[in-house]
Amino acid sequence: MIFFIQQLLNGITLGSIYALIALGYTMVYGIILLINFAHGEILMVGAYVGFFAISSLHLNFFTALILSMFAAAVLGVAIERIAYRPLRNSTRLAALITAIGMSLLLQNGGLVVLGTDFKAFPQTMVKETYWILGGRVPVTNQQILILAVTIVMMVGLQYVVKRTKIGKAMRAVSYDKEAAKLMGINVDTTISATFAIGSALAAVAGILLAMYYQTVHPLMGLMPGLKAFVAAVLGGIGIIPGAMTGGFLLGTVEAMVSGYWDSQWKDAIAFGILIIILVVKPSGLLGKDTTEKV
């Protein structure tokens, strides 16, 4: 039982990071129907900005976090301008290939510029362990920080999407691009804003991930990126609460598989769950079924 609760905590910690990444995927997919494969690489760049901000500029954790969010937002908007906007009216496949190409470019560019070795991510706080549930289950302050930052980001995002003008514009554009344009919404600005917000969230996830595994590497975005996409599809792509549910669920399942069986199989199990969900309920857990009209 103790072991189970411990794995559950690990799962929730990792799952909250997946959820943050999945939010970016889901927002971009919701608005331009593109699987932004470069999202995992934006995460990696965000983690490196945080790494240099802390280790070279000696900034504190929160300043580094904000700097990295800003850098990632600029990168996300630039990628959209350069690679995705010219393809907005071409086939979905061409856009998908471009997105994968962008991901490869950033990965390999990262390997060339940043080197192929793992670098230790500086620990900005002293590790403390609290014992909860009658002093039997350990919780680290790092886990609490990860969860707290994630929750703050999610609440912030909900506020932006539901209560602000730009959030309203995003919802309008994702619902019907043409109609939104007719209502006087600047579609390009709205899409850029979506990329900026999604990329900033990815940067946060990148720093949290670097903190969790204590390393940074140019390929660090690859697997979490794919996993977060799985999480987004699991919850129902384009749906923000779905991405959160999917992220937490996937993180928990992975922690359980690693804890009770063999961590070698966790990727296979994650994709297995994805396929079962897709076959049983293709629109995801929280998605509504849609029938295609002729």
Partner: protein, 322 residues
């Protein structure tokens, strides 16, 4: 009369190329490095043309072609190494195993559309890879070693040519036309009485079959197969060739397979920068020519003559595809 003349000409051309390149290999005019790339070109042509059948002609976005290649490679290697059977039998077994897994994967997932299918097939390929990583019988993560080099020029060339001819003839048959109708409009095809599930599964398993052939050739040329070889990148490579060549153009796929393999061979010495250039070229080509080099047209000598006269017509046609 004209048709049969064309066929005889094609057969003569096929054999002429076979003997000419065979002679170059025998006479060691082609150095070992060039030979490796020549064999890779053949294998990549099989991968690209077979994936084009699924993505380009049937319109099903599949991102897991390397998974089928892995099955072909491993099953054929088990036949030749572990069971001591002949190479021909190994190729057939590998291809059939890939085709069967294509049916198993295809039947439930082909109900999915577009991006969902892409991600499901990507997931399947990853699962196949993890299974091989965790199977000690085939060497686990270290891979299978000591596979005899049975892939020679004759096997490679004739299997490549056979793949192209079989897929080309399939597309021009009733069944192939049905596949194209599924691509154009699935609901309309269904209404016209076409069993879309049947044709999607047929195209999917046929594509998988030939990917299995490519895998068997690969395994028996490079001595060693590792699960990491058949990762997402390999699937992506095949998809790049298909899209670069043009969806629904067999000659486009062949040209793109030759170009991409040639490009990565030319950039071999640059090590890390190779993939950066590859990705950058890919993005530039996609942004400026999203319909691919050939669009959905086929390359032929008569096309060249036509193009010269009606250059304007060609460009407008390409635009309408996009």
């Amino acid at each position: 009369m004209k048709l049969s003349k064309n066929i005889i000409g094609t057969i003569l051309l096929i054999f002429a190329v076979y003997f000419a390149v065979g002679f170059l290999i025998k006479g060691e005019i082609i150095n070992p490095f060039q030979q490796v790339n020549l064999f890779l070109m053949g294998i990549n042509i099989i991968m690209a043309v077979s994936l084009n059948l699924i993505v380009g002609f049937t319109g099903q976005l599949a991102l897991g072609h390397a998974g089928f290649m892995a099955i072909g490679a491993y099953v054929s290697a088990i036949f030749t190494v572990k069971l001591g059977l002949g190479f021909g039998l190994g190729v057939i077994a590998g291809a059939l195993a890939a085709a069967i897994s294509g049916v198993i994967i295809g039947l439930p997932t082909l109900r999915l559309r577009g991006d969902y299918l892409a991600i499901a097939t990507l997931g399947f390929a990853e699962i196949i890879r993890v299974v091989f990583v965790n199977t000690e019988y085939v060497g686990g993560a270290a891979g299978m070693i000591g596979i005899p080099q049975l892939t020679n020029w004759t096997w490679l060339y004739f299997l490549t040519v056979a793949t192209i001819i079989l897929i080309k003839n399939f597309i021009n048959s009733t069944h192939g036309r049905a596949c194209i109708s599924v691509r154009e409009n699935e609901i309309a095809a269904e209404t016209m009485g076409i069993n879309t599930t049947k044709y999607k599964t047929l195209a999917f398993s046929m594509g998988a079959f030939f990917a299995g052939v490519a895998g068997a050739l690969y395994a028996h040329y490079f001595f060693l197969i590792q699960p990491i070889t058949f990762s997402f990148l390999k699937s992506f490579d095949a998809l790049v060739m298909v899209v670069l060549g043009g969806l629904g153009s067999i000659t486009g796929s062949i040209i793109a397979a030759l170009l991409v393999t040639g490009l990565s061979a030319a950039l071999q010495d640059l090590a890390g920068l190779r993939m950066v250039i590859y990705a950058a070229v890919l993005i530039v080509v996609m942004v400026y020519r999203p319909q691919g080099l050939m669009g959905s047209r086929e390359f032929s000598l008569s096309m060249l003559k036509k193009e010269r006269g009606e250059a304007d017509d060609g460009s407008t046609k390409a635009k309408s595809v996009n």
